[in-house]
Symmetry: C4
Subunit: 370 residues, 4 copies
């Protein structure tokens, strides 16, 4: 393939995807680029195929330079050139594109210069699923985590000084300074235990046993804090997800957040096995349903419709005593949220605007059905 043809193709890719967070070709380029960078350091492999490795590495670099140029141009057109260039993502794009050429120009050993390709990996970060949730947990639990870290550092330093004092005469090579003892302490306190440096005096071993047990304790605290944080975050996420489902229902959309929060709190969770009939045609309806997780099948005349996560059904029941108009059953183990008519009416007493919205909607539908 000639180069003049490769570049337009790449450009098309890039233009098509320039507005999105992370593009599929960029993922592939990161993967291939890092793999080649690793291969470059394996002498027998590199000697056998150094033309190919070099070619692919240069192509990846070209791709990232190209990406940077396209994004920069796109940002300049929107008069946000500097904003992009100085943002975290802009800087990462710049480093990905310019670091290796710069190192080569400055006369670095090519094998070392290409190692800078490891920065390409950070381009994957915005695409990691659940990273936002993880960061929130870390932010929320900063206080306890920091205090565990301080305890960790104090045990580290105390035990290092003690060990240096106890072992320096017996093992002058391993414990010749406090930093050397720190190396032992960090490998022990994290329960890594390389075994390259090991105390041999009885007192030193006693200190070491204490440090190992502290390691378990620090570990346990750390985990306990993170587990608690995750549980809270998950609860919160579920609430926000439910909220979103509720606010998508047409006649709830106009309500204020206090009313939506009230509705959300009134929802009862209901776990159902697969193939359970939820609504029977002709029954008196007394509640509406939201699908939190799972799927239901609506048995309409002539066809079967499936509803998935976030969908709702049976909302007519809240507008009057209408009879159910179709059979609905779960297709797999599902989690539904139920809003009872009785609860809903109690809610209307609190939120007069909700009552008005509902009345208007009921009148509209009545007219429609006439």
């Amino acid at each position: 393939m000639s180069k003049p043809r490769l570049f337009p193709a790449l450009a098309l890719f890039m233009v098509a995807t320039a507005g999105r967070n992370m593009t599929r070709p960029a993922y592939v380029a990161v993967l291939v680029g890092v793999a080649m960078m690793v291969l470059l350091t394996v002498d027998p492999a590199y000697e056998a195929a150094h033309h190919w490795v070099d070619a692919v590495l240069w192509a990846c670099l070209a791709f990232f330079v190209f990406e940077w140029v396209v994004r920069l141009r796109h940002a300049v057109q929107l008069h946000r050139g500097w904003t992009y260039a100085l943002s975290g993502r802009g800087l990462l794009d710049a480093v990905s594109a310019a670091a290796i050429p710069l190192a080569l120009v400055l006369g670095a050993n090519p094998k070392s210069a290409w190692l800078l390709g490891i920065f390409w990996m950070f381009k994957v970060v915005p695409g990691i699923p659940g990273l936002r949730q993880l960061r929130r947990v870390l932010v929320q639990e900063t206080g306890p985590l920091l205090s565990v870290l301080v305890i960790f550092l104090m045990v580290l330093f105390l035990s290092s000084v003690a060990m240096y004092f106890l072992e320096r005469d017996v093992q002058p090579n391993s414990f010749n300074s406090v930093p050397a003892a720190l190396w032992w302490a960090v490998a022990t306190l994290t329960t890594t235990g390389y075994g390259d440096v090991v105390p041999i005096t009885p007192l030193g071993r006693l200190v070491a046993a204490f440090v190992m047990i502290c390691g378990l304790g620090v570990f346990g605290l750390w985990t306990g804090i993170l587990a608690t944080g995750f549980a809270a975050e998950t609860r919160r996420d579920n609430f926000l997800k439910t909220w979103e489902s509720v606010s998508k229902v047409p006649f709830f959309a106009a309500l204020g957040p206090a009313a939506i929060a009230d509705v959300t709190h009134m929802l009862r969770t209901m776990d159902l096995p697969a193939r359970t009939t939820i609504i029977r045609k002709g029954q008196q309806g007394d509640c509406m349903y939201f699908i939190a997780d799972g799927e239901v099948e609506v048995d309409l005349p002539g066809k079967k419709v499936r509803l998935g996560d976030g969908a709702f059904f049976g909302e007519m029941a809240l507008l009057g005593n209408n009879l159910r108009s179709a059979n609905i059953m779960t297709t797999r183990v599902s989690q539904l949220l139920v809003l009872d008519l009785v609860d809903f009416r109690m809610l209307m007493a609190r939120h007069p605007d909700l009552a008005e919205t509902i009345d208007a909607e009921a009148r509209r539908r009545e007219l429609e059905n006439k």
Copy 2:
């Protein structure tokens, strides 16, 4: 024992158990087969008893071949031969039966060929208790677990490249390529710490300390996520178990899922010590009970009946103001679920069909008692 007699006995076993998930003789065959396979590799033991080891291994193989043939025939009779043959279980049966003979035919070293017997172990998988629950947790927490895995891989690669850069000149044997450094990184980040490859430069040790602390963090996140998932799954399991208990009560069976869910939510958990009297004969009854976990003893005239998990009693109280007809007490620490008459009546206001069912049942019992 002559072979002609052994095989019919085996066949009887198999035919009797062909329809079940996992059979006791198969468990034994897996256990014995894997043990022999292990023994085969221990030279002194094998030399001492190679006739026995070989005989047992061949018998196990025969068993699995036989099992496969019986199952295949059974499936063909039900016109589902291909379905079974291509299902996960069918393929496992085929591999268990055919892999070793095939390897031997293709001229592999017998000691290596028999190692394929390790695949027999997978036959135990469907019988593991709680595996379904475990899988659900892993599925539900896929998002956060994946994001921790990506972080894990990023720390792994970054630290390997850094270590390769810092240590390759000092320890050309241990850190001669990035893959070699990856080997160090994975042993360090998982806090395994073999100690066969250890950084010796001050900067390398600093990076290593950072990697170890990251290891603790990754570990903590991992555990926190799984703990949260398990807590949610346990809650959900309890709800489904309660649901099942409720739906077994005759006059609840006809209700829709919304009413059963309502009943389930109205149940209050009650932990009782052993030998506590729950119901006294002649008292006014005002609630019914479900046994979530434990056992009660009903003191009927002339005999004592014991009720276990999932049983219910005192349901008459919901049909009218009948007096309690027997003493009932716990035999050990038990967890009961209580449904109060008052709550139950509130429920009837919401679910008119429930009221009708109850009325019909009460009338039926009244007639019966006349």
Copy 3:
């Protein structure tokens, strides 16, 4: 001190404490005995003071023999000799007393025979606080824990066989059989990582990396399951503790478990800072309090009374509209459980027997105060 005097003193100790679970002198004997047993194995220490070590060991042994005899005699007097002798505790007492003399008689090396003194340690088991709670968690979570254990074993065997296959030619000394590979696998999967046996082929290292990551996973699952179990057990313990507090209140004692459970569920938890006034003299009382954790000070005329965990106060308020008769304030951060008059009255509608009890109590107090 002459021996004839030592033994009566010991006998007095033992008789006084024979009925209790674990006696203080026995704890001391276990501690001293095990310490001496350890010292016996340290050659320089033993050579320096072997008279003392031997004397103390024989004294400990004598103590345990004596303890066994006294307990056995005590049990025989209660006609439960065999019950005790064959119970876990009886057998442990017998082993503690007889194992070492038996080994010495059978001609074992004294240094090895005294090692059996390690069995003395089990005498401490019944005295461990919270052991019952721990066992309940393990029993409740048996299912998931077993399934993790099975997964653990499967990974162990699979990786051992793979490693034996991959490394046996390169390292015939370390991986010369599957059991030898199992030794590597268990050290790796538990992230212990001794480093005495380490894979050196690239494929072997890949398998090892996979095993290490599995180790993290198994660890996380294990911890997650135990954390969930502990949370449930703690909740349950709290309920039972509250129940106990409630059933100690005189006029609740006569109620059935359903009513007590109802009261327990109606209690609201209230965390209060230190030095907060809960009740002011002369105020209208509308609730009663239980102390779940902490302490309050009642400011009675002329003296100050302190109430601790499990105590209750303000119960008069439930019997009528009596005015509070004293100031009550917390002395440290405390957790109270509050039972509101309004909730309590709703409860009386459900439980007519409670209403009668309360009326009777109120009349009794009225008469008393006249």
Copy 4:
């Protein structure tokens, strides 16, 4: 800089900060002092700059002596000299100031004497965020944690004795006594695994495998207990924080703790996305809000006011049917606590003093607005 000038500056610092828990210059002195103490043990570094290192160390020591003297004088002026001198903090100050000079006077090697500077590190303890929370968790979970510790110690001793018995003949250097075996056991049970002492007999390896798996179990229990404790502590902290927010509202301040606890329990949590309008000017208000976490912007005429954690707004709604007087929206993802008018009125039925307070407040505001 001449010394006479340095000291007055230091004195000014100290006098200004003597009453506070931990002073910024003291933090710096601890950091610099410990860093220098570490540097002192690194021979090449110390040889290159020993004048500087010594000078800084003496300066730090002078600072701590000075701090001690100032604090002691301050305490004596308040007639609490002995109280301070014998308190934990007073003793730490004394040790920080006097230990090194004392060691030098007693003729210790300077390099060893300065190691006592590690005690300076404890001065940071009172400043660690969240340490109080951590300590509460440890105190609350003392029972289960102790029982895990006892199990840990029992496994440790049992396995050590077993290992000593099994390995002493094969490895007389590594397992020559039970204490030596304990060293192996502690490194194995904590999954540190140095690998300096490793069993080589088959039975020894079986025991070791068992110890490693026990290590996982102990670890899991430990973490599970701490995670549960943290979850409970976090819930409790949140309740106390909410309580504090509630008791800051002027017209709640006069209420008793029972009423404040009631209000706190009635608050519903509401998570809102950023830029969501909570209150619209002119709407009918029916609830008040507390900010648990986040920020809102009040759109007053002519200016925008931001309210942060712990602030409250919309409290007028509880005093009457006033119309909302301003638009309020969130500036970022926020967590609000909502107190509904309806709930609040139900509360007033229970707490007549609350009703009076509210009436008085409403009348006061009415007069104000006239």
